[in-house]
Amino acid sequence: MATAEEKSLPTGSDCLQSARSGSNGSETNGYKSGSNLEKVLSAGHFAVTGELGPPQGADPEHILHKAKLLAGAVDAVNITDNQTAVVRMSSIASGVLAMREGLEPVVQMTCRDRNRLAIQADLLGAHALGMRNLLCLTGDHNVFGNHPTAKNVHDLDSVQLIRMVKDMRDDGVFQCGDDIEGVCPSFFIGAAANPFGDPFEFRPYRLAKKVAAGVDFIQTQLIYDIPRFREFMEKVVDMGLHEKVHIMAGVGPLKSSGMARYMRDRVPGMIVRDEYVDRMLAAIAGIPKEEKAARRKAWRETGIKICIEQIQEMREIEGVAGIHIMAVEWEEAVPPIVEGAGLLPRPTVD
């Protein structure tokens, strides 16, 4: 990975000059953003990110509680942006709260709810509030959420969003080309990749477009089909993309056989191999239906066990630079997973 120092940056912009001289508080020491996640990945450590879903209400305790569960177990945590198109506390506001607990946020930003003006305004604010990681997403369609009659935006798509954020950071310009005054928002830029979406042959090229647009790290969709993920990664490695972007494999602990089945049969863009459903079913073999607590315990133990095994498999796949653990509404599972995978303590990089 080329750091900002190694790259030939344009020099015309005031904001770049001041950023380099460190006079405005955004000194990044040769890093693009200076975020912990960037430092961990740049140093070659196997990185770990988690996910935190904000509440459908205004209680800060909700975030603070979840952040406490995750702190120390992950290098940074994604804060979802109206996930599944359901209104929740904003990602940036939640990120401020998470930072109070010492957790570094990855602000998720979808193209569904904001046009280019709103996104750029929010990015200026997010940077001013200390956020340094941004995940650029298309966003789930609003028909899935609790405001299906809303007007969706999609002024930009995720590739265009990546380019815009990169230009704001590296060239000091807004999307329209105007100079940014003073401090430029400098984010470590992330994006998603779904190796299980179709057209399958297009997926590595779609990733290549994100790389060309300037993405720094990738988090994949939840992986419950490792052979297909391997096939995807082989193509990615053939194309040399793993040398240009840090790819983090998406995993998540299954909570029950019902959840595994639901994701296999009902969630668009997901593939779940039968073996996972079968193992979750086997976990409760012999436990009567009425013993709900016992079933739940058995399921959760197996879910965590499978997740740890998956991480170990991912670590052996060429081009995988870290894992992204999605355990939304089950944040407690993350520390034992990270520990079980032998990834604790998390590194500190200066």
């Binding site: 369609h141 590739v159 265009q160 979406g197």
Partner: protein
């Protein structure tokens, strides 16, 4: 063509309110071809209104007329003289026709009997599908002849989102993924390279976002010809 769909009868009755004398006005172009507002549909709806209003103890007098095109002055001008007789004109044209009537005959009230749904084509008998959003900046030359603005539910310009699976869109298993269609055709045509180019943010000012659009062709204006 412009595709429309008749509003539910209950909504039409509510729109008509206390009107006693109604002219149902059809259009002989797009909405005739899509069986929503031509002479035949005008006849059926007029009969329904007569029967329903009678059943409701509020009998309406309903007349029928269908013009060649409700969106052109020359075809609607002849209607002008008779409009005084009616409390309301119920137009079965698209939204352009309804507005043309209101604009040309400001003293008459013309109400919409259709929902103008989209610009599309009949895929098969009885099935219409959207094909164009009139975005004002056609990109079909870059997308294997398939429009992601009209046909991708997120209007993506740089490839499919993560919700495309088995050829269908995440919003509905009956909706084909536009990017699957684009990819398949590009592969067939040997033009996949075109899809690897990053498409810049779209200029939406040429779409509705720039306000109502207008084309002035000086070469066609009568003042210039004189």
């Amino acid at each position: 063509m412009i595709v429309g769909e008749q509003k539910p009868l209950a909504e039409i009755m509510e729109l008509l309110g206390d009107a006693r004398k109604v002219l149902v006005a059809g259009c002989g172009t797009c909405v005739t071809v899509c069986f929503a507002g031509g002479e035949k549909e005008v006849g059926i709806l007029a009969s329904e209104l007569r029967m329903k209003s009678k059943l409701d103890d509020h009998p309406m007098e309903v007349d029928e007329v269908t013009v060649q095109r409700q969106c052109e002055w020359e075809y609607i001008d002849p209607l002008g003289e008779q409009l005084d007789e009616y409390d309301v004109v119920l137009s079965l044209a698209c939204g352009i026709g309804v507005q043309a009537m209101n604009e040309r005959f400001p003293d008459a009230i013309t109400l919409p009997g259709l929902n103008t749904t989209f610009l599309g084509l009949p895929e098969e008998q009885g099935v219409w599908e959207e094909r164009c959003q009139a975005c004002g900046d056609c990109i079909l030359g870059l997308t294997a002849g398939i429009c992601p603005i009209a046909r991708c539910s997120k209007q993506l310009l740089n490839g499919p989102c993560g919700g495309s699976q088995n050829g269908v869109c995440e919003i509905d298993p009956d909706v084909p993924c536009a990017w699957q269609l684009i990819w398949d055709r590009a592969v067939k045509l040997g033009r996949v390279d075109q899809l690897m180019e990053i498409q810049s943010p779209k200029d939406w000012s040429r779409s509705r976002d720039g306000g109502p659009r207008k084309i002035v062709r000086e070469d066609l204006r009568l003042e210039d010809l004189e």
